[in-house]
């Protein structure tokens, strides 16, 4: 193979990896949208909050330390050396479940039967609340996330692909970040687990039932409130996974919540109601923006990755507004 072709392959591969990271965030949106028709603007902030909490537990920070310090003039900082990673992850998951419960009890319960736009506005409020709350609780400084995942270039892939180029060229193999490979693996496991759970368990069926028809779900004895707590907990879990991956990749900082915006074009491509759609949409966006940058970016000054996804989404809105896998919108006049 010629080095040029190999370069394109490398770009595609890296695009797939980036796409999986987008899919991880989009997945959380789809779960909540399917079950309750709520577009959860706070999904990105949930990922940030989960990441902050995880780092907080890992490093043994005292929650609200600087609020307490400012109020009482104390000098609290950490309570100890911190928790082992696995324990910290389990505790963080506990916090996300608690969050889902509190959210249902004090917010969503009072919003039943409101118009979708009202619910959307609620989640915008929620996003700002969580961002501020995360700030108060764990501080606003940029934190590094270390959950023991390897990172850096994969020498394994590099050595395999180095031999693929034609004799005599100075091709040195493909570069891919090991962390991205891990993220891909985790995302695949996550999606398979969620799919199996929703297909073959009682609660999974209840989740699909609620997503399908609220009235019918009530009739067979499903409590919508319980289901909403479960759905938001699962979305919290997905947010935690996304938070770990993004946090490990680019540090835990408040701009993490902006990745939610990158999930929007993914959702427009894949459709708001489809889990496979979120995956495929993420991959298309990831590969699309990398290829566009590689072939055309150079001609128009680069940095096309910032806007390419949105332009692609715009085209989709014009020709297929329900997305690749979404439910067809049929309006009768």
């Amino acid at each position: 193979m010629s080095p040029d072709l190999l370069n394109v392959l490398e770009v595609i591969l890296n695009g797939l990896m980036a796409g999986i990271m987008y899919s991880l965030v989009a997945l959380g949106f789809v779960l909540i949208y399917k079950a309750s028709g709520i577009f959860n603007y706070a999904q990105g902030v949930m990922a940030l909050f989960a990441a902050l909490t995880l780092v907080g537990f890992q490093t043994g920070q005292i929650p609200f330390a600087h609020v307490i310090n400012a109020a009482l003039g104390t000098h609290l900082d950490t309570w100890g050396p911190g928790l082992p990673t696995l324990l910290a992850i389990i505790l963080t998951m506990g916090v996300m479940v608690l969050f889902a419960y509190v959210l249902e009890r004090f917010v969503l319960r009072h919003m039943v039967n409101q118009a979708p736009i009202i619910l959307f506005m609620t989640t915008i409020g929620l996003a700002y609340f969580m961002e501020g709350f995360g700030d108060l609780m764990w501080g606003a400084d940029v934190k590094t996330m270390d959950v023991g995942l390897p990172s850096g270039g994969s020498t394994w892939l590099e050595s395999i692909t180095a031999g693929w180029a034609a004799e005599g060229s100075n091709y040195r193999g493909m570069y891919i970040d090991v962390l991205d490979l891990w993220a891909a693996g985790v995302a695949i496991v996550l999606v398979i687990t969620l799919t199996l759970f929703s297909q073959y368990t009682k609660t999974g069926r209840a989740l699909r039932a609620v997503a399908d028809d609220h009235q019918a779900a009530l009739t067979v004895g499903i409590s919508l409130r319980t289901i909403w707590i479960i759905v938001w907990s699962i979305a919290g879990f997905v947010a935690l996974v996304a938070g770990i991956m993004w946090g490990a990749k680019s540090g835990v900082q408040f701009s993490l919540s902006l990745i939610a915006l990158k999930a929007l074009p993914v959702l427009i491509l894949g459709g708001f109601t489809s889990i496979p759609g979120a995956i495929v949409g993420g991959l298309i966006i990831g590969v699309g923006e990398k290829l566009f940058e590689y072939f055309i970016g150079g001609m128009i000054g680069g940095a096309t990755e910032n806007w390419f996804a949105y332009v692609l989404a715009l085209f989709f809105l014009m020709f297929r507004p329900q997305g690749l896998f979404g439910e067809r919108i049929i309006e009768r006049v």
């Binding site: 009682k202 699909r208 039932a209 399908d212 067979v220 004895g221 479960i230």
Partner: protein, 267 residues
């Protein structure tokens, strides 16, 4: 207490009783001072012209509407204000006039979801899947297959119900209600929009369910022939009031009923 009908079925004591139910939506009175009872093991019909309040009555019993006045007694206990899912968990299953199935799910999944009140393993075991959750799934799957067999819908087990013709959807909905193994089955116009053959099938299912499982059934139906054949007792509503209550023969000869509803053409 137990008395037998002509065909030898056992009719027991009172299973459900509604007392002086009044329901209004703003200024519109849907139900006014309605009282009647449903006895264990019987087939009870609720009839009346359009807008008589039949569906409202069913919605009160199944917890979708909350009456301003009156009481609902189920199995000898006065019921507080309940949500539909709590009513379902008490053992009252229902179907809807305009079908409320999970359209994207298969027939099998619809029926399995109908059994949700019977399944008790917790989230932890479900997530593990092996062990209690798996055993429970298999046990309930057996019961569901039995119902599928009973209704003769083996051929559509894996078909998403949204793709099925209307008559079959009605049958699946009945199946889902049966899967709950409820004490009381509420059927809202189980034969509406069906052809003669489908109606005959549905009649047979209703009688068989009542006979085989001893399930108490309350149904709303417009087809007078069906109502008079199927039911042990009939309550007649008109403009939200109770007009008559009794055996089909009694109701049929009630002058009030004839005047308001049956007329010459229907009887």
């Amino acid at each position: 207490m137990a008395e037998s009908t002509q065909d030898g079925r056992k009719i027991g004591g009172t299973l459900l009783e509604v007392k002086n139910i009044s329901l209004s939506f703003g200024g519109v009175k849907a139900l006014t001072d309605i009282s009647f009872d449903i006895k264990e093991g019987e087939i009870r019909a609720i009839i009346g012209p359009n807008g008589a309040g039949k569906s409202s009555m069913l919605n009160v019993i199944s917890g979708f509407y909350h009456p301003q006045q009156g009481e609902v007694w189920f199995r000898g206990q006065k019921r507080g204000s309940m949500r539909p899912y709590e009513v379902a968990r008490q053992g009252i299953a229902r179907t809807f006039q305009n079908i409320a199935l999970f359209k994207g799910m298969s027939t099998l999944d619809n029926l399995m979801t109908g059994r949700i009140t019977q399944m008790h393993t917790n989230l932890f075991w479900q997530a593990i899947w092996k062990g209690p959750a798996e055993r429970e799934e298999i046990a309930h799957r057996e019961r569901v297959e039995h119902i599928i067999d009973f209704l003769g819908i083996q051929a559509i087990r894996k078909t998403p119900v949204g793709r099925l013709p209307y008559g079959l959807q009605k049958r699946v909905e009945l199946g889902r209600a049966l899967a709950a193994e409820a004490k009381l089955l509420l059927l809202d116009e189980p034969m509406a929009g069906m052809n003669l053959e489908e109606k005959e099938d549905m009649c047979r299912f209703i009688l068989d369910v009542n006979d085989e499982f001893g399930t108490t059934i309350a149904l709303i139906e417009h087809d007078m022939g069906v109502v008079m054949d199927l039911s042990d007792r009939v309550v007649v509503l008109d403009y939200g009031r109770k007009l008559a209550d009794g055996t089909p023969a009694e109701v049929r000869s009630d002058p009030e009923v004839i005047k308001a509803y049956l007329g010459g053409a229907h009887a």
